[in-house]
């Protein structure tokens, strides 16, 4: 297949090495980190208004985290060797060390926090349920069925401590993804010390938007009224983080424009041609400025609940589209120009191949399937939580 090239590319550069699957990878890990940070708002920062989404955010983070390595695995030329990254890691490699950051986040933070938070419910359900469900819950108790007030108090304190560790870990998880790109000095589109920070804030934006949408959608599915105080608070946090994220990206852009180093002419041409739609139209105008304006409008004008819900729904969808476009522009955009700065290549996305659109779509649907199973197994809804066995966990502060 002939790949259209404009100008001069080094002969080995014509073919793109990282495909849509590598676009998915930072998108998915971003959702994980963002969802966790939203959950920590309630737990650590005592923002009681977002409590209805606390457990849902944790389960969302877990569902996406379980899928996060799959795009990488599919992309590898030799997936059967991927465990070597853990067995014989190369310590100077950002990618190798990310494997351990991922494992730390999955095993030491997310799974432990979810287990501690649900332990009381799991024990109760292991006694209440029948058949295979009973067996599943018994396994999930990990042999610990003590739900005395003291045990629950320990769970609570330990959970709080893990969330405290979890916040920097979530920053580390996605900041590190940014570092994987930002540390490639050969590529001026990626190489920037701001890259990890931009990735962290864009992760928070996407995770918060995703949980907000999942909360709205699930409430509708269950025929329950949406807690508008919760929704307004989430939207407000989305706005704050979005403004920081956008400011950082604009700072990076201004710096590049003003410095105008040897790569600038090439990158500028790319933004005005090949990336015009995905970056200027989709990422900046539709995916950033519009949702910011929509949510900001709510801060100044008192709108009815129905109107607010619609605005939040639209803003959330546009936000996710914008953040996906941002990942696309980083990963794909970073490979469209020659390192000689004299030419441009084209990304031709396949459909039903190993790195095509079809597996990417399946990988984007998969976390929702996992989330559905998790929600069935560990209901995150406050009203469906079983009553505490002995006494409620210690009350948390009020916002």
């Amino acid at each position: 297949m002939q790949i259209p090239v404009e100008g001069f590319m080094y002969p080995n550069e014509v073919e793109l090495q990282w495909s849509i699957l590598i676009v998915l990878y930072p998108f998915i890990t971003g959702l994980v980190a963002g969802a966790f940070i939203l959950a920590s708002l309630e737990r650590v920062f005592q923002v009681q208004a977002v409590k209805p989404t606390y457990r849902l955010a944790l389960l969302t983070a877990l569902a996406f985290l379980l899928v996060a390595p799959l795009p990488l695995q599919l992309h590898l030329g030799h997936p059967e060797r991927s465990l070597e990254m853990y067995l014989t890691p190369h310590s100077s490699s950002a990618m190798a060390m990310f494997g351990f950051v991922y494992l730390w986040y999955l095993m030491a933070v997310l799974l432990l926090e979810i287990w501690l938070d649900y332990r009381r419910d799991i024990v109760v359900m292991s006694q209440k349920e029948k058949g295979w469900k009973r067996l599943v819950y018994r396994v999930l108790t990990l042999g610990s069925s003590n739900i005395s007030a003291r045990a629950l108090h320990i769970d609570e304190r330990l959970g709080y401590f893990i969330t405290l560790i979890g916040i920097p870990s979530a920053f580390l998880l996605h900041g590190y993804v940014g570092f994987i790109f930002g540390s490639v000095k050969a590529n001026p589109w990626w190489s920037s010390p701001l890259m990890p920070i931009v990735f962290v804030f864009s992760a928070m934006v996407s995770g918060i938007a995703a949980v907000m949408l999942i909360y709205m959608f699930s409430s509708r599915l269950r025929g329950r009224e949406i807690d508008m105080r919760c929704l307004d608070t989430i939207a407000r946090y989305l706005l704050y983080t979005f403004i920081i994220d956008f400011s950082l990206e604009m700072l990076d852009l201004l710096q590049r424009i003003y410095e105008a180093d040897e790569s600038f002419r090439s990158l500028d041409f790319m933004v005005h041609t090949r990336l015009w739609t995905s970056q200027v139209i989709i990422q900046i105008l539709l995916g950033t400025v519009t949702p910011i304006a929509l949510i900001a409008l709510n801060q100044f004008v008192k709108l009815a609940d129905v109107a607010r819900k619609r605005i939040y729904g639209l803003a959330g969808c546009l936000t996710l589209m914008g953040i996906f476009a941002m990942r696309w522009n980083v990963v794909i955009g970073g490979q469209l120009f020659s390192k000689s700065f004299l030419g441009y290549t084209t990304y031709k996305m396949d459909f039903a191949t190993r790195e095509g659109l079809l597996p990417a779509l399946i990988l984007m649907i998969l976390p929702f399937v996992i989330l559905w199973v998790l929600v069935k197994l560990l209901p995150p809804w406050l009203e469906s939580s079983p009553a505490p066995a002995i006494s409620a966990a210690p009350a948390r502060g009020i916002n």
Partner: protein
């Protein structure tokens, strides 16, 4: 030494293992080659390169390089008198078949042969998640194909576009400086066939290598020195427009 039946039986398992390696095509050993005695690089004399592409063809044949990928290639530059920052460059099929069409008129035209720079501080080695890409003690950057994951991070990290993913092996690949040849005292395939001597393999640790005299008496450069990769392919007569 007398070989008894008992000793012969004892040697058979070892012989079986050795035979397995012979069948697997294990490269011939180089018993006299000492890794620490060498520090390999290459000298490219742009003033001598005629862009015939013989080096590209020899490399492809010697190393079974798949079509459309290049361990070495030749670029033709054309720059107008003062437009040093905007040269016109071409490398159709990596310059494999030479440049039969006339270059643009006016300005300056010249050829630039390229290959892996075997950097002393190679970014590709730094980013490899499993160490499949490594710096040999003799200064050659090599890839262990049996270990490479095919993640392609090294390809992204190379500032010179020297690496590619071999579609046959699904592993990263690039110039090895014909390691199978230089460890036997031969030169690389590309240097051997170059009709003008524009390419010269250089052993920077060998005080008798003529490279030392050349480097002392000529103005040589490396590609993209601002990348600080410790490139060991030196270019004589390189124009400022080359990148």
């Amino acid at each position: 030494m007398d070989i008894t039946r008992r000793r012969l039986l004892g040697l058979m398992p070892a012989a079986a293992v050795a035979w397995k390696y012979v069948l697997a095509g294990t490269p011939e050993a180089s018993p006299n080659y000492r890794l620490t005695d060498h520090w390999w690089g290459m000298l490219m004399d742009i003033t001598k390169c005629i862009g015939c592409g013989t080096c590209v063809r020899a490399c492809a044949e010697e190393n079974d390089v798949p079509d459309g990928y290049y361990r070495t290639w030749v670029e033709r530059y054309h720059r107008d008198e003062w437009k040093i920052e905007r040269p016109e460059v071409e490398s159709p099929d990596g310059g494999k078949h030479g440049y039969l069409h006339e270059p643009a008129e006016g300005g300056k035209n010249f050829f630039v042969p390229k290959l892996c720079n075997h950097c002393a501080e190679s970014p590709c080695t730094q980013v490899c998640p499993v160490g499949a890409t490594f710096d040999a003690p003799d200064g050659v950057v090599l890839i262990d194909k049996k270990y490479c994951l095919g993640c392609r991070y090294c390809i992204q990290a190379c500032p010179y576009g020297c690496r590619f993913l071999n579609p046959k092996t699904n592993t990263a690949e690039k110039c090895t400086l014909c390691y199978h040849r230089i460890t036997k005292g031969l030169t690389t395939a590309c240097c051997e066939v170059c009709p003008t001597g524009a390419r010269q393999l250089a052993d920077l640790k060998n005080p008798k290598d003529p490279i030392h005299e050349f480097l002392r008496t000529h103005s040589v450069q490396v590609l993209k020195p601002h990348m600080a990769t410790g490139a060991k392919v030196f270019y004589n007569g390189m124009d400022g427009s080359v990148r």
